[in-house]
């Protein structure tokens, strides 16, 4: 009888509240009895914290405009989440950090100088269509921030591919690509157009002195954030490392003058600039912060390795032979779509069954 009453208690009332209400001093509950002080919300905020260095670096490199893009993206994401949850009569969970993170990641994936409505439209699309239409956090098939980015990319390619050159260019660092007054191509776009890339060093790429999206340029800051997540155990190595390794391997083997690249010649291949491919574009940002999203990636370790290699393969294919210069967002979204089937084929055997 007592047990049944325990079952029927208000689900909203937490154990702590019960403890302090004084009604029921003795709590009978199922295992586990020891639990860590972790929640989805806390993890989301931790990821946000780990992304701060990259944002600061982006603002430092591209100037104040980048800050506005980030702020607009976040505010629009929060307001959209609130309005949609209000209309759908769901529990309003604006402050759980997930919408904040989506807005932040979307803004990190935008060029530093975009019209003010672009991050707003992207965030609205990411939250409303990318997440809430599927039923909110935990139900979405595709990474919301990347859904928003791809929508913007397909809708306003003019703004999404106009990159400004870094403010720091020339200040002590070797000059990046031949930039005119404001705009400059990203290293990958220049590579796609067949320009020579000798005047951009790997160090410049590492510190982020190049054209690109706000959050993707400073590899050093991104690795700092990723290290924090690794140490706290919020992400495992399985997806990011296999992803980056796969991109490095495929671009090394099939590189610019590699195998299958016409004109075919003897002894070709195994000459691609793999470090360039790892350091340029959004690979580090995508591998550590977006391909590790809990909701849209496989659950099992084996599945995560498959996911990482698949992402790397698709990214390398798009970069080497595709129409777009960069393929990280498309690769992650495609593998997001494959996640249910990966989960089905890698699910672990239940103990005692065949």
């Amino acid at each position: 009888m007592n047990n049944q009453e325990e079952f029927r208690r208000d689900p909203e009332e937490t154990q702590e509240q019960k403890l302090h209400s004084g009604k029921n001093k003795l709590i009978v509950s199922f295992s586990p009895h020891l639990h860590k002080d972790e929640s989805v919300s806390k993890i989301m905020w931790m990821v946000v914290i780990s992304l701060i260095p990259a944002g600061v670096a982006g603002i430092f490199i591209f100037g104040q405009g980048a800050l506005w893009v980030i702020l607009l993206g976040i505010v629009a994401a929060l307001i959209t989440e609130w309005i949609v949850q209000l209309f759908a009569k769901r529990r309003v969970s604006v402050l759980d950090g997930s919408a904040f993170l989506t807005g932040l990641l979307l803004a990190y994936n935008l060029p530093p100088k975009v019209p003010f409505w672009l991050p707003i439209v992207g965030s609205v699309f990411a939250i409303a269509i990318g997440k809430q239409v599927f039923g909110g956090l935990g139900q979405n098939i595709f990474n919301p921030a990347l859904t928003g980015r791809v929508f913007l990319m397909a809708s306003w390619p003019k703004y999404m591919t106009t990159f400004t050159s870094p403010l720091l260019a020339g200040a002590g660092f070797t000059k990046p690509l031949n930039y005119d007054a404001i705009t400059s191509a990203t290293p990958l776009a220049a590579l796609k157009e067949g320009k020579v890339l000798e005047h951009i060093s790997h160090w410049n790429l590492f510190w982020g002195i190049r054209g690109g999206c706000i959050g993707e340029v400073c590899i050093f800051a991104l690795l700092l954030g990723a290290l924090f997540l690794f140490i706290r155990g919020y992400i495992s190595w399985h997806i990011p490392i296999t992803y980056i390794f796969a991109v490095g391997l495929f671009t090394y083997v099939f590189g610019p003058k590699g195998l299958f690249t016409p004109p075919l010649r003897a002894g070709a291949g195994f000459s691609g600039d793999w470090l360039f491919h790892i350091l340029s574009g959004g690979l580090i940002l995508g591998a550590f912060f977006m391909a590790t999203d809990y909701v849209t990636t496989p659950l099992t370790r084996k599945g995560q390795i498959i996911f990482g290699i698949g992402c790397g393969l698709i990214t390398a294919i798009i970069r080497l032979w595709g129409g777009y210069p960069e393929g990280v967002s498309y690769a992650i979204l495609m593998m997001n779509a494959a996640t249910p089937i990966i989960d089905r084929y890698t699910k672990s055997r239940i103990y005692g069954t065949r």
Partner: protein
């Protein structure tokens, strides 16, 4: 008379071919880039539906049950050919815009669906109003979808710019945009329907 009016009206809302029966999505996806294409496609399909429903309802007792589908197709194809020739003669611009999708009305599942599910069992007058209602419902759905897509995807309605400085989202003019708009509208109408019940 009231009965016929009901037969006409059900095709527009209660059994709307696009949003409730979810039939004929292929031409809907393909031609709903601009409102004028949507209207042209809708009128062509309405004419074919009207003709095929009436003729099939008339000959329903003559055709053997086993080969009814080929018979339906012959009737439908006749009307589609008439439509196509008329369109080529009087509106070559629209014909070029719609392209292959005019002859493809032959295999439009709304037309064959109404023949199979309705016209071969009902009286001629009922079938006539059913075909008319379905055609008008299809046309209205096409106008709605193509209106949204043309406005947001190209910034225009019927070729006229409405809002100055509006930056159209190209994706809505692409096939993926059609799937997006149709999916969201389907969801929206389902929400409305569930709320009314």
């Amino acid at each position: 008379m009231k009965k016929y009016f009901y037969e006409f009206l059900k095709g527009i809302i209660k059994e709307n071919p696009t949003f409730v029966l979810v039939l004929g999505l292929c031409p809907t996806l393909a031609v709903s880039v601009s409102v004028i294409n949507g209207i042209g496609m809708g009128i062509a399909a309405t004419f074919v539906l009207l003709g095929s429903n009436v003729i099939i309802s008339l000959i329903k007792n003559i055709i053997p049950d086993r080969i009814r589908i080929p018979c339906f197709i012959v009737v439908i194809a006749t009307f589609v050919t008439i439509t196509e020739m008329m369109m080529k003669a009087y509106s070559p611009v629209l014909d070029r815009a719609l392209g292959i999708y005019v002859p493809l009305i032959v295999v439009n599942c709304i037309v064959l669906g109404r023949a199979e599910a309705y016209a071969q069992k009902q009286t001629v007058l009922n079938s006539l109003f059913d075909g008319l209602g379905m055609g008008v419902g299809f046309t209205l759905a096409l106008i709605l979808i193509s209106g949204i897509r043309e406005f947001l995807g190209a910034g225009k309605i019927l070729g006229h710019t409405l809002v100055k400085g509006f930056q159209p989202a190209f994706v809505l003019g692409m096939p993926s945009g059609a799937l997006l708009v149709i999916g969201l509208l389907l969801g929206f109408f389902n929400v409305l329907k569930n709320r009314r019940e």
